[in-house]
Subunit: 621 residues, 2 copies
Amino acid sequence: MMENYENLQKKANLIRKWCLKSTTAAGSGHPTSCLSAADMMAVLFDRYFRYDLNNPLNLYNDRLVFSKGHAAPLLYTLFGMAGAYPLEELLTLRKFNSRFEGHPTPKFVYAEAATGSLGQGLSVAAGLALLAKRESLPCKNYVLLGDGELAEGQVWEAANFAAYHQLDNLVAIADINRLAQSGETMFGWDTDKYEQRFRAFGFETMVINGHDLKEVQIAFEQAFYHQGGKPLAIVAHTIKGKGVSFLEDKEGWHGKALTEEELQSALKELGEPDDQLKLDLRHPDSISLPKQEVVAPKHGLSFEKGNEYATREVFGEAITESGHQNKDIYVLDADVKNSTFSEDFLRAFPERFVECFIAEQNMVSVAAGLSRLGKIPVVATFGAFLTRAADQIRMARVSEANIKFVGSHVGVSIGADGPSQMALEDIALFGALPDTVIFQPADAVSTVKLTVQMTGHTGFFYMRTLRSKTPVLYDNAETFKIGGSKLLRHSEDDQLTIAATGITVFEALKAADQLKEEGILVRVLDCYCINPIDQDTLIKCVRETKNAILITVEDHFVHGGMGDFATAALAMTGKPIQVKKLAVNEISASGKMEELLELAGINAAAIVNQVHTLISTTVLH
Amino acid sequence: MMENYENLQKKANLIRKWCLKSTTAAGSGHPTSCLSAADMMAVLFDRYFRYDLNNPLNLYNDRLVFSKGHAAPLLYTLFGMAGAYPLEELLTLRKFNSRFEGHPTPKFVYAEAATGSLGQGLSVAAGLALLAKRESLPCKNYVLLGDGELAEGQVWEAANFAAYHQLDNLVAIADINRLAQSGETMFGWDTDKYEQRFRAFGFETMVINGHDLKEVQIAFEQAFYHQGGKPLAIVAHTIKGKGVSFLEDKEGWHGKALTEEELQSALKELGEPDDQLKLDLRHPDSISLPKQEVVAPKHGLSFEKGNEYATREVFGEAITESGHQNKDIYVLDADVKNSTFSEDFLRAFPERFVECFIAEQNMVSVAAGLSRLGKIPVVATFGAFLTRAADQIRMARVSEANIKFVGSHVGVSIGADGPSQMALEDIALFGALPDTVIFQPADAVSTVKLTVQMTGHTGFFYMRTLRSKTPVLYDNAETFKIGGSKLLRHSEDDQLTIAATGITVFEALKAADQLKEEGILVRVLDCYCINPIDQDTLIKCVRETKNAILITVEDHFVHGGMGDFATAALAMTGKPIQVKKLAVNEISASGKMEELLELAGINAAAIVNQVHTLISTTVLH
């Protein structure tokens, strides 16, 4: 057995060697953060980890999420020593076009998620573990956590979630190396404090010396056979920079590579480990990710003109219909399922509904985990509360996750609940993220059609739904597409164009009707797709109207909304086009919808006024 | 003593009456969430709370943060029964122009912060408590928490923070009424689970029956005299809808007002409480908020042209200089003080530096607490990690907090660390929030001047700082202002204008120099103020150049950035102006700064290409 650990120690030191070598070659990185976890990862990979290198998406693979993403060189070295690629390739670390980026990204196919914004990995692993639990996949879901990141609240959201959902296939490995980036962590080496926290949050816990291979092995052996309903936390006392005397437990070494000279001295201390040593992964049974089903483009839902529906309510019906057609759809909600109407889906498919309680950050990262294994997670909450998870949304986008976000109660139109509940910056948030499709259906028919579009395409989608009821605008046979819009009023004598979206479509229509009575004809466009905006139609409208004027009107703050998408689309043309953005310019209030639309200057009267002003001051072309 | 509690119970029932009456008058609201906490709040207000109604900012006031903001009618009733206004005014609840909004906002002067996005109040209270601790103010800081919101990770960030900073003047009151919006909470009435969590996070704890007035009084008595270093949590078993039989512990009553008929029946059950009853606040000593000092507009810092500095590093020096001149400035950082260079301030003013560890959400809400009492909090971390606190930033803006945010390491220019560390959506995030000034200094001189501007003005500010060094552009005597820009290259023969900001200013200058060699003159504008953008200068530039073309170039995602501010400013004019936005269009990578600027198409070569394309295809005017 001693012999056994001696060889394992050599492997651990070879891991160390390549963490140091690769970061020195890169000239940057976090080698000391790798060294504290090297022994534990050696044991895990050499003795317990079941993984098919040829198929990272094999459903029977164990999973390892590197929540402490700055220890990426360690992750890269592990898979290299397991045989995924020659170790020499690690010398491309952090270089342009290398798969080994500074923090793990999808370029590294073995990364379960992009990490590097701290405190998100436990949630991703919980998503993976939840799926394994629900689909009876015999795998373990490990996550390596740094100690500094345990201050992030999301970790405790995830801990609650894991315990609540009885994820005993989840193993949190907390690398307590005492030192964070700028000094000692909150609790230093007081591993009890961490253990108490995990235990209070419903985990079984172990405290170990993360450098005693025997202790580590015993812990992972227990983890391997662990069940009984509780998730498991291994709290490991470790030393940052372990294995190299001049790095061990020293401040000033976070995020710093060794010089070539320091490297040589370190490698000597490590006993010049043999590059031929391998980490022996176990081989899992093989079960491939099933081919994703395609949502049939038909829905049985139909709506009569003259009736009114809240788009959030219709979304609930639509996503449930989609759920019948596509068994990969999962719906997640944060205790507002009776407001977002995701409860319809829960009733039909409890096995594919995930109650995340009031913890939006965890919800989004759990969704990223579900997406990793081919599910189509639909994340629903108030649009305002999606901002709570802005960083998780950002990281899910870096992860190339296929998530559909649905934000309800958008804009000042929600009324009496007041500004804290109004989503007014959500288009800016999602619009900034590359290739994110943004829908805002104004009526029931478009809601159904756009829900089908959303779940049928791979990629990042965001859909805004309304609190209040709106009348049916469209025939049930109408079609809707990514990048589309609908012309609702037009004639050959139109003076200008009004582009609206969501609730303001109805204000624009009212304004158009009033103006018509005065003899002023205007064009009204429903920009149900905010990104990509329908540039061709916008240009066409402006070209065909008497004045090259576009008024955009939306229930969103003025910067970063639909108006900016439309303005940018037109400004590229270089034509003499005037754009006036009507949008929310100040913090709103409580009141009736009508009062708040008026306060914001985005109601029919404001549109009419704006048309009067613009037409009277503009030279015809 | 019995007599005593009888009267108190009547007062509690009068509180209930007005929570019910006001929500029924409003036709919406969360009466049952008020009723569960009514008894506790009656005891607190009637027997312990020290508050000067004439001066909400009296520094010796006790503080009460309503983290469960949906219980706003309870908060409003408390202050009404304490004599702040006639109870009848509560019937304006949720109405337009009422100070009693659906959730507390600054319109209600007794609200310590806007709440309603859950899980933020403990942090705000911790900010208030920290200040009281550091400035030896003899007050208690209470926070009323719902049980549903205890799932929010931020609560546990705040708990860690409060215990770490030994805030024994902080009292968390957890109202465990079992029912959340859409069903039972994670732990129902298992108060032990909550107690364990608070205790593990370093609180002293008590579990009480929140409707037994004697138990409640004993708890608040202990809280009143509590000290010893640990914050205190009172975990109260309560009943949602308590006091009205048909509401008690019933599902389906969250966020629902009683009908007039139901109200009458409820009031009967409550014993038709006497409207003349008052809550007897204690009177604290009076010490007013000191008049805010003005930052002297002079800094001793000067920089020589030819030298290079990272703007983040200069920010560290500048904020420290400002700290000498203005004792109200506090600096908060989330374990990256050696990267943001806020550590300079820590060295000079440890008593006004707040280490928040890796918990950005709590950091921002703590800052909102500091701002409430007249401090000028400067919140520093990587720009990318400010997105972690997007919802807290949003709510701090609703709170009208005077916070200065400084985000370092913006854009792809950070290089090898990769996309997780790059702030590329931060301008969209801050730009959406009304009246938020956004600065991005490109060099050392402008960094100092803009830091002075930032700390000298009241309001929301965001400043972007760069990881890498940039050469000094400006004379030390140069002046900078909100809404300003600097013309760096211009002639009478300019073909078009390039507006740049931050790192891209140098790319624009390089491009201008290369183009000049080809005989093409272009104008280069440093948009150091992104919001409000310098509209006048932009219009002037476009008017004065041969082609009415603006190229914007920035190290930010293409939507929601400086380009959209500039485009919107020009599109309003209706002139034939072409705008081409050069910005980041896809998720970036690891690599050298130069490689990543090239990949994003925002380097000098890309600008030169764009100029060639635009000039060759544009008709002169």
